[in-house]
């Protein structure tokens, strides 16, 4: 859906006001993108790089956005594609998930009675494959519908449905299993759709 192959910086045709509005609208989505990226890659630094790349790509091809009402899912789609490209590229293999860092920041911001849950959940989420983590974040945090998830990830809705079922089962198994241990690399075992 969104390709990042055209790495040419298109000259903005002019500094017209609708362009400026779009730029501002893109900037307004940053906190949300950043939040999603942090919990997707489980590293503040990697998330920051990912969001920056996403922003660069978004501003570069902002003229290709057909429907401004779909700005958010357009941005999430770019973020997702960039993340997939990084996962596939040789350079990003073995990037480290900063599980305890992220867990601690989640624990610190959780209410007192939620701290244990936050820690267990952070560790379990980190142990999921990124597709499973991603779909749970999109549905529960971003409150996407199945259709929005399908559009954002460019997958059929049937894939969304089977993926969420698997993601929930795995998360539950991790939370119940007492088998949690720290993993130090992305779970690269993409389990298909």
């Amino acid at each position: 859906m969104v390709s990042d192959q055209d790495a040419i910086w298109a000259e903005p045709p002019s500094s017209d006001s609708s362009d400026d509005e779009l730029t501002l609208a893109i900037l307004a989505e940053l906190p949300r993108l950043r939040r999603h990226a942090i919990y997707l890659v489980f590293s503040h630094a990697d998330a920051e790089d990912l969001v920056q790349d996403c922003l660069e790509a978004a501003l570069r091809k902002r003229f290709s956005l057909q429907d401004p009402a779909k700005l958010r899912s357009w941005l999430f789609a770019i973020l997702n594609n960039l993340f997939l490209m990084r996962q596939r590229s040789h350079a990003s293999r073995g990037r480290t998930l900063q599980i305890e860092d992220v867990a601690e920041s989640l624990v610190a911001s959780a209410s007192a009675e939620d701290r244990d849950t936050a820690r267990d959940l952070a560790r379990a989420m980190a142990k999921l494959s990124f597709e499973h983590r991603q779909i749970l974040l999109l549905l529960n945090v971003e409150e996407y519908s199945y259709q929005e998830v399908a559009d954002t990830l460019s997958v059929p809705i049937g894939t969304v449905m089977s993926r969420v079922a698997r993601a929930r089962r795995r998360l539950r198994a991790l939370l119940e299993g007492h088998e949690l241990h720290v993993v130090d690399a992305y779970d690269d075992g993409r389990a298909g759709p």
């Binding site: 307004a28 906190p31 920056q52 920041s105 939620d114 989420m125 974040l137 539950r172």
Partner: protein, 250 residues
């Protein structure tokens, strides 16, 4: 209403997510009443989803000052130590090139557009076409800046403000070129200054624009359109920005 159609795993999840068509809900509810283990399992999923929403929805996880090591333009070696502060005596004096006409006062639309360009430059440190000004000399930096902006600029060492120039770069724009100074301060706080040449411009108050977790203050002064961008609130940014700007332009 019941039906004999089997309840599939996906339907249980669709039910949980409010995605099941009205006509299938009763069947799923009947299935769950008849299978308490499945009902408990679904309740656990529901609880997990609620916990994810609660715990991972934190509005804005602390935004670390952006200082990624792979962004080389952050560190072209332009750093001025504190002890040099007293020695630097440069003034931002601006000469207007012959043939320039004074422009209209800055309008709100201009203010916003300038703020957007400044914010984009703040966020995109290595946009294609951006040229780092690799120098550790304030004279050279002032010359490069004057050349890019088309107005004469002389910079002083801003160290007395507690901030130093960590990097400088020329940012091409649709019309002309802009210059960005990346300022690094106590606790590694980062503020960027963004300048465009605006012959005829005189001093205006700061105007505040906020968006995307950033505060941007825009003003004009002595043939320049200026913006400062940072993550602090407007009051703090205005204080810090004024202090740095005053040190920078003398």
């Amino acid at each position: 209403m019941t039906t004999d159609a089997p309840v599939l795993e996906e339907q249980l999840h669709a039910y949980l997510d409010g995605e099941l068509p009205q006509g299938r809900r009763a069947a799923v509810e009947a299935f769950l009443r008849a299978h308490p283990d499945e009902a408990r399992r679904l309740a656990a999923y529901r609880g997990d989803g609620a916990a994810i929403a609660r715990i991972f929805s934190r509005a804005d996880p602390a935004i670390p000052a952006r200082r990624s090591s792979r962004r080389t333009s952050w560190r072209p070696g332009f750093g001025i130590s504190w002890w040099q502060a007293a020695a630097a005596v440069l003034i931002l004096a601006v000469g207007v090139g012959a043939g320039w006409f004074g422009r209209e006062r800055i309008s709100d639309a201009d203010t916003e557009r300038l703020a957007h360009r400044a914010a984009a430059a703040h966020l995109i440190l290595n946009g294609p076409g951006a040229q780092p000004i690799a120098t550790s000399s304030l004279d050279e930096l002032s010359r490069s800046m004057s050349d890019a902006l088309g107005v004469k600029v002389e910079l002083r060492d801003p160290s007395s403000s507690g901030y130093r120039i960590a990097a400088a770069r020329i940012v091409p724009q649709a019309q002309g070129r802009a210059v960005q100074l990346i300022m690094s301060g106590p606790a590694e706080q980062t503020i960027t200054f963004y300048f465009e040449g605006r012959p005829g411009a005189e001093e205006t108050p700061f105007r505040r624009i906020a968006g995307g977790g950033l505060t941007i203050l825009v003003w004009e002064d002595d043939n320049l359109a200026c913006a400062i961008t940072g993550t602090m609130d407007a009051k703090e940014l205005a204080e810090v920005g004024r202090r740095i700007y005053d040190a920078l332009v003398g």
